[in-house]
């Protein structure tokens, strides 16, 4: 499975509007609702579980990457969205650096262990400086998807 197979052009935001931690997460969840990947009813409870997770510790993992995630019974399959901000988002990351790439994951409660591996694999891909450079240079959502489809998301 590649990260790209969990995405589609309307689940990639090539230029995010938000410049701060929490508004960025809200922007991504709202985008999923708007395009029918999440129901209106699911929005608030999902935001709440994402908030609880970020409250424990920011999912900004350094090198301009953040992988906010929550486990929820409001989705039946894993729901993902990728966002890019060339300007950078203040995410209170581990290295205090702004975040340029956000991968948001909502995982069905029952698939916790399965998707933990997916999350780890995605972090590994984005840990590559070369991939991050390509993602920064990409012109649009399709090009971003192209880059993400090159490597397997699960090692």
């Amino acid at each position: 499975m590649t990260l790209a197979s969990l995405l589609s052009p309307n689940r990639v935001i090539a230029d995010m509007k938000a410049v701060e931690h929490w508004p960025a997460i809200v922007e991504m969840v709202d985008h999923l609702v708007e395009h029918g990947y999440l129901t209106e009813e699911a929005r608030d409870p999902i935001l709440e579980s994402l908030r609880l997770r970020e409250d424990q510790r920011s999912t900004g993992i350094g090198s301009g990457i953040a992988i906010p995630h929550a486990f929820s019974d409001k989705v039946s399959e894993v729901t993902t969205i990728f966002g890019r901000s060339r300007e950078g988002i203040e995410f209170c990351a581990l290295d205090s650096a702004p975040v340029n790439f956000v991968v948001l994951f909502i995982v069905p409660q029952a698939q916790y262990a399965l998707h933990l591996k997916t999350l780890a694999a995605i972090a590994k891909i984005l840990n590559s400086g070369e991939i991050r450079k390509h993602l920064t240079d990409a012109e649009n959502a399709d090009e971003i998807l192209g880059i993400l489809s090159k490597r397997p998301a699960r090692a």
Partner: protein
């Protein structure tokens, strides 16, 4: 406070020595008999020769009555297990030292809940953050992160030729959510109002989002030149060097790393997007010359060897590097470098054990509040808002704050900001304020009653 420290290595010993000078009851647990023996002759504490993961040892140390339990050995697993058992036995607060590698994985798995740990840190990362502050703000006297790193405090001197000299704060129109918390003018502590005029020589403490503050500092101190990237050379690509490079990449720095191990070089090249990795030995004068070290703004020695670090700093200084910084691991060397460093061209020496001590001191207080930073111009304190407090539900504007107290940060859940007049205060929020003596008591009373 009843404090238990597991591990009498550099970090544990340093903290135990420092805490034993205050009125605390300290127990140190150390597995190596020789180290434990040395420790008990040096420190005013009860030293137990035993395993921090043994229930008998922990009971003997008084874990059930312990206010603060710190697992500070260099072994992740021992520390995690010791914290987990101590909490199970009744220790109030547990703090665990881990390697930065494990800390980088923490986002994926909630170590803290699983092992009952209140705070996890790595001394490598803390030292890297400390070093990065010098690079980001070379003119600042003090830089501190507060409210989980969302807000930064910087202390800077107002220079004669700066834009701010002779102007009132009102005229300077600082952007929203950037605040001057205090001014030190000679020996006079000033809690500023909008009409305060800044004078050359004033020591100003500014609070705000790190990036926003950075943009304002040029108005108080040295102006201009901010657009050129800062040229940084790091000697050593280990955990310290990597953490440092990762942090600096985001701050308009052009980073080069000297690392003699080709395997580490390969790994660094893969992980860092913008840094240049040189497979070269910085202890060789020839290689330093070849890489034009004289052109760099900062040379930072970050290997495990104090001798190599200091000597290469001297070389880099001789070759013309503008500022040299070094890590110092051994307590015995740190003092000499701190005292004589500037004569040798070393701007500052950062020691991981001291960075850890400074970070951990905030846990060594009563529950009601803690002193985040002691500044010449006053005390920065943090306290949480009780449900019974009269400020709950009010806006910042509507609260009658004691005179001489400046609210500088408001932490609500994950969000932290420099407060603006319309922000509503809720129970459980954390407030940070600059205060002095009597005002502190009034401020704390306001948050609790």
């Amino acid at each position: 406070m009843n404090i238990i420290i597991v591990g009498a290595g550099e970090i544990g010993r340093h903290l135990a020595l420092s805490l034993s000078r205050e009125a605390h009851s300290i127990v140190v647990i150390e597995a190596e008999e020789k180290v434990a023996g040395e420790m008990s002759s040096k420190v005013d504490a009860r030293v137990l020769n035993g395993d921090g993961g043994s229930i008998n040892t922990l009971l003997d140390a008084g874990a059930p009555e312990c206010d603060l339990f710190l697992a500070l050995t260099s072994d992740n697993n021992s520390n995690l297990v010791a914290c987990s058992i101590a909490k199970g036995l009744g220790a109030k607060k547990t703090i665990c030292r881990v390697h930065p590698g494990l800390q980088r994985e923490e986002w994926l798995f909630d170590l803290r809940s699983n092992f009952n740990i209140d705070y996890i840190f790595s001394s490598e990362r803390l030292a890297a953050v400390e070093l990065s502050k010098f690079v980001r703000s070379p003119d600042s006297i003090a830089v501190e992160e507060i409210a989980r790193g969302h807000i930064e405090l910087q202390q800077i001197e107002v220079l004669h030729r700066s834009e701010a000299a002779g102007k009132t704060l009102r005229d300077l129109k600082f952007p929203p959510r950037v605040r001057i918390g205090s001014i030190l003018r000679g020996n006079e502590q000033i809690v500023p109002t909008a009409d305060e005029v800044l004078e050359p020589g004033d020591l100003v403490t500014m609070f705000g989002d790190p990036k926003r503050i950075q943009a304002e500092l040029g108005r108080l101190g040295k102006p201009g030149g901010k657009d050129d990237p800062v040229r940084v050379v790091i000697f050593g690509g280990g955990e310290y060097g990597f953490s440092l490079a990762q942090t600096l990449e985001a701050w308009n720095c052009r980073v080069r790393i000297f690392e003699s191990d080709p395997a580490i070089c390969e790994d660094l090249t893969d992980r860092l997007a913008n840094a240049t990795i040189l497979n070269a030995d910085a202890t060789s004068l020839e290689e330093l010359k070849e890489e034009n070290i004289g052109d760099t703004d900062f040379f930072i020695a970050a290997t495990q060897s104090d001798e190599d670090n200091v000597m290469t700093c001297l070389q880099a200084h001789t070759l013309g590097a503008k500022h040299c910084l070094t890590l110092i691991h051994r307590a015995d060397y740190a003092e000499a470098i701190t005292r004589y460093g500037d004569r040798m061209g070393i701007m500052a020496a950062v020691s991981p054990r001291e960075s850890a001590r400074q970070d951990l001191m905030r846990f060594v207080t009563s529950d009601r509040y803690h002193v985040v930073k002691q500044l010449q111009s006053g005390e920065l304190i943090e306290s949480s808002v009780s449900e019974s407090s009269s400020v709950v539900g009010k806006t910042v504007r509507d609260v009658e704050w004691p005179r001489g107290c400046v609210l500088v940060a408001h932490l609500h859940g994950v969000r932290a900001q420099v407060p603006s007049p319309d922000d509503v205060i809720e129970a459980g929020d954390h407030l940070y304020a600059m205060t002095t003596g009597k005002v502190k008591k009034q401020f704390l009373k306001l948050l609790t009653k």
